[in-house]
Structures are given as structure tokens and as C-alpha cells.
């Protein structure tokens, strides 16, 4: 007899891997799912119904670019009818007044808009696409509709000096929240790690900026800073624990404990088309492999932080050591920590070195892992 794990709060719904942007920091896998293999709207409605029964209260409708799904309204309706709170995670490309009206009519509650830099030309260079103008329009549509707006910027060497400008942009666009998230090195981000790796001084200046803005704005704009875990010697509490808080369903229906976990060997993740979501959450191998603390190696096993950081990130342990069961090398107590620190001393990378995120038709790009 085992006790069922506590239910998940959130579901990350990756509706498509298609995207008009080509950001080299993207955490999507290198092998992007083809559109022909995507779940149908009916599948998603079914996923949300099961997820709500399981305990899910919120979903991020993400991708890729979810607006490329012509049936997004039906998907939003499904979530809303199951009582799940919806947030659209978008680049803004393709959002028109009509589209937003039909989405809010279907029950969309909030929007998170990505931006690559405060300067339009620099933003377009990082996105590999002339995407900035659409973002400005999208922001105005969202706030005009009275929906809460979050701005999300993934940070790296080529935009960390623009933190002040990004906060000013969020204020100008009427956002309620800005998430300044240092790049997590998975998928395309891992492939491009050298070119993205920030400088230590650059990071320190960005932290000073964030603190200054927080003091000055006093909560009128929520500023979320996602620290880069390569620099502080502290492992992040990845996903709030394995199979503990949320789950991800990928465009083809694979259910994962975290969006990057598809790369892990021996996970054997299953598809929502083949198994009930409750069974996947409670009993499947993929969700139990690193759940709790029993799987932990030394030094995690006896560490007083084991219930706070959960041993850090399994995907990062695998990417850096080839062994997903090792302590996250981001932790200063990890035997592999020196190798990780060495990566932060690499020569400054150029923006032009970034491999743009694109569906690959030929051989897969070589990974730096």
C-alpha cells in the first residue's frame, strides 16, 4: 500500500512547438514536435477535465506560440468549463483585437507576453524575427481588455544590461508583473550555453537594478527575479519538487514532471492518449522516479536542505554529468560543482554565435552537454 501523492496545482500545456520566433535560449527540446503529431482540441479538453478532477487549478497555455493553434478558443473553453484558471503564454505574434475578444469570450483570464530586449531592434535580433512591433500592440490589446498582463524576459549576456529598460517597458505597457528570468540551460538554451552565459559583473549590476526598482515601485509592479543557478552555488528547488506541484503535457501528449524531462534516460514517460492522467500522476514510473527523497544520493540524502531544494534539477544533473541521479552540480556541495563553475568563466559569447531555434530537417545540431 502506498499513499497517493498530493495532487498537482498546475498544468503546463505545451500546445504546439511551432513558433514564428527563433530565440536561441528556448528551453524547448532540439527535436521539435511536428504539427501533424499535435494533440487535437478534443484531447486537450479531455486532459483539462481529468486534470481538474485530479486537483489542477491553473494552466499555462504555452508552446511554441499557442496563438498558432486555430482551435485555441476550444482549448480555452475546455479549461474554463473544467474550472481551471487560464493564462496564455505568448510572443504576441498574431494577437488581434478580434482574436483576443474570442479568447476572452472563451474564458481566457490572463496573458503573459515575452519580450527579448527593451530596444526593439535588439529584441528582434535576439528573436531572429521582426516580432517587437506585434508585442507592443498585443500589450495594449490585453490591458485595454482589462486582463492582467505579465511581461516575461529571459535574460542572458545579450540583454542583462537592459534590465532598467525592461522594467520601464513593463511600466509603459501597463503590466502588473514582470518576470526577469535568467536563462535555464535546457534544449536550445543548453546548445547555446556558451553564447548566452552572462558575465558575473553584468549579473551583479542587474541584481542592483532589480533591487533599486523594487524599492522605488514598492509593489505597484511585481518584479520576479529568477536567479541564474550557475553562479550562486545554490541549487534551485526545481519544479517545487519532482511530481509535487505541477505537470507538463507536451504537444504530442507526453506527460512529464517538468518541461525539460524528455531528455532524461530511463524515464519512460507515457502519453495521455494511452493512460488516465490520475494514473500517470500517481503511479507512472516517470512521475515516481525522483519523487520525495528516497532516490537521493549523498550529499543530498543527509542534507538539511533536501526538503527545500529537492536535490536541485535532475535534467541539469544529467546534462552536466551524464547521470540524472547525481546532486545538481549547481549546488556548492556537489562533487561536480567545480566543473559547473568553470563554465561561467568562458570567454564572452557573441549573439551571432547563437544557433536559432528552428525545426531541424537535417542532422540534429550537436549538443554541448
Amino acid at each position: 500500500m502506498t499513499i497517493a501523492p498530493p495532487p498537482p496545482w498546475g498544468l503546463l500545456a505545451e500546445l504546439t512547438h511551432a513558433c514564428p520566433l527563433h530565440c536561441g535560449y528556448c528551453s524547448n527540446p532540439l527535436e521539435l514536435t511536428r504539427r501533424s503529431r499535435e494533440l487535437t482540441a478534443e484531447h486537450w479538453v479531455n486532459v483539462f477535465r481529468q486534470a481538474a478532477e485530479l486537483g489542477v487549478l491553473q494552466t499555462h497555455l504555452s508552446g511554441g506560440e499557442p496563438l498558432l493553434r486555430k482551435d485555441l478558443e476550444a482549448i480555452v473553453t475546455g479549461a474554463e468549463e473544467s474550472g481551471i484558471y487560464t493564462q496564455l503564454v505568448t510572443s504576441g505574434s498574431g494577437l488581434t483585437a478580434d482574436r483576443l475578444r474570442s479568447l476572452t469570450g472563451a474564458g481566457l483570464r490572463s496573458v503573459q507576453l515575452s519580450v527579448q530586449h527593451a530596444d526593439p531592434a535588439a529584441s528582434d535580433r535576439i528573436a531572429g524575427s521582426r516580432a517587437f512591433a506585434a508585442k507592443e500592440i498585443a500589450a495594449a490589446l490585453v490591458t485595454d481588455a482589462g486582463l492582467p498582463l505579465g511581461v516575461n524576459a529571459v535574460l542572458h549576456r545579450h540583454n542583462l544590461d537592459a534590465v532598467d529598460g525592461l522594467v520601464e517597458l513593463a511600466l509603459r505597457w501597463g503590466a502588473d508583473r514582470i518576470e526577469l528570468a535568467n536563462t535555464q540551460f535546457y534544449g536550445w538554451g543548453l546548445l547555446n550555453r556558451e553564447a548566452l552565459m552572462p558575465g558575473r559583473d553584468q549579473l551583479a549590476r542587474a541584481v542592483e537594478s532589480v533591487n533599486r526598482w523594487r524599492d522605488q515601485l514598492d509593489g505597484s509592479l511585481e518584479i520576479v527575479w529568477v536567479a541564474p543557478d550557475y553562479f550562486d552555488g545554490v541549487a534551485k528547488p526545481c519544479m517545487g519538487g519532482w511530481g509535487a506541484v505541477s505537470l507538463t503535457v507536451t504537444p504530442d501528449g507526453t506527460a512529464l514532471p517538468c518541461p525539460a524531462a524528455a531528455t532524461l534516460p530511463g524515464l519512460d514517460p507515457v502519453n495521455i492518449k494511452d493512460h488516465p492522467l490520475r494514473w500517470i500522476w500517481e503511479e507512472s514510473k516517470a512521475f515516481n522516479l525522483y519523487r520525495g527523497t528516497d532516490w537521493m544520493p549523498s550529499p543530498c540524502r543527509s542534507c538539511e536542505r533536501r526538503d527545500q531544494d529537492f536535490g536541485g534539477c535532475r535534467c541539469q544533473a544529467f546534462a552536466l554529468t551524464g547521470d540524472a541521479t547525481r546532486t545538481d552540480p549547481a549546488c556548492s556541495l556537489s562533487p561536480d560543482h567545480t566543473a559547473l563553475t568553470a563554465l561561467t568563466h568562458s570567454a564572452p559569447g557573441e549573439l551571432t554565435d547563437l544557433v536559432p531555434r528552428r525545426p531541424t530537417t537535417g542532422p540534429r545540431p550537436a549538443s554541448h552537454a
Partner: protein, 90 residues
Amino acid sequence: MTAADPDRWCPRTAPAVLLRHDRARGSHVLLMPERVVVLTGSARHVVELCDGTRTVTRITEELRARFPEAPVDAEVGPFVERMRKEGWIR
């Protein structure tokens, strides 16, 4: 931000904030972007009366009548004020 007048202000939940019953965990919650607030004790009853038609004074009176044993006077005012500062009601 100064405190609102309890005899004039009729609070209602912000458009982005939803009160829901969380069946899986048997509690009431406030849903909003990136956040779930689990309502404990009688907090849910206060939020339910924040419908834009009642003043804070009236909400307090109604709850006092419904829960005569509870410390309604001491708790409702501070809770409403906290929710206002958080932006959950306006």
C-alpha cells in the same frame, strides 16, 4: 495607500481574481495569475460577501449575525484591508 472608509466602500473581487471551491483539497481558493491563495477558516465567507453591493460595515454586520460566537469585529476589518493591499479586492 490609506485605509478605505468601511461605511462607504463596497469591495468586490478584482476582475482577475476568482473565488473557487477546490474539490480535490476540500478548501476554497482565490485564483489569480501565477498564484493560488488558499482561504482558511471563515475567510471564504468574507470574500463571498465582497460582491460590490455591501459596505465593509454591512459585511461585518451580516457575518456577526451568522457567526455570533466568532471574533468577527476583530478579524473582518484587517482581513479586508489586507486583501485590498494585495489587490485581490477593490
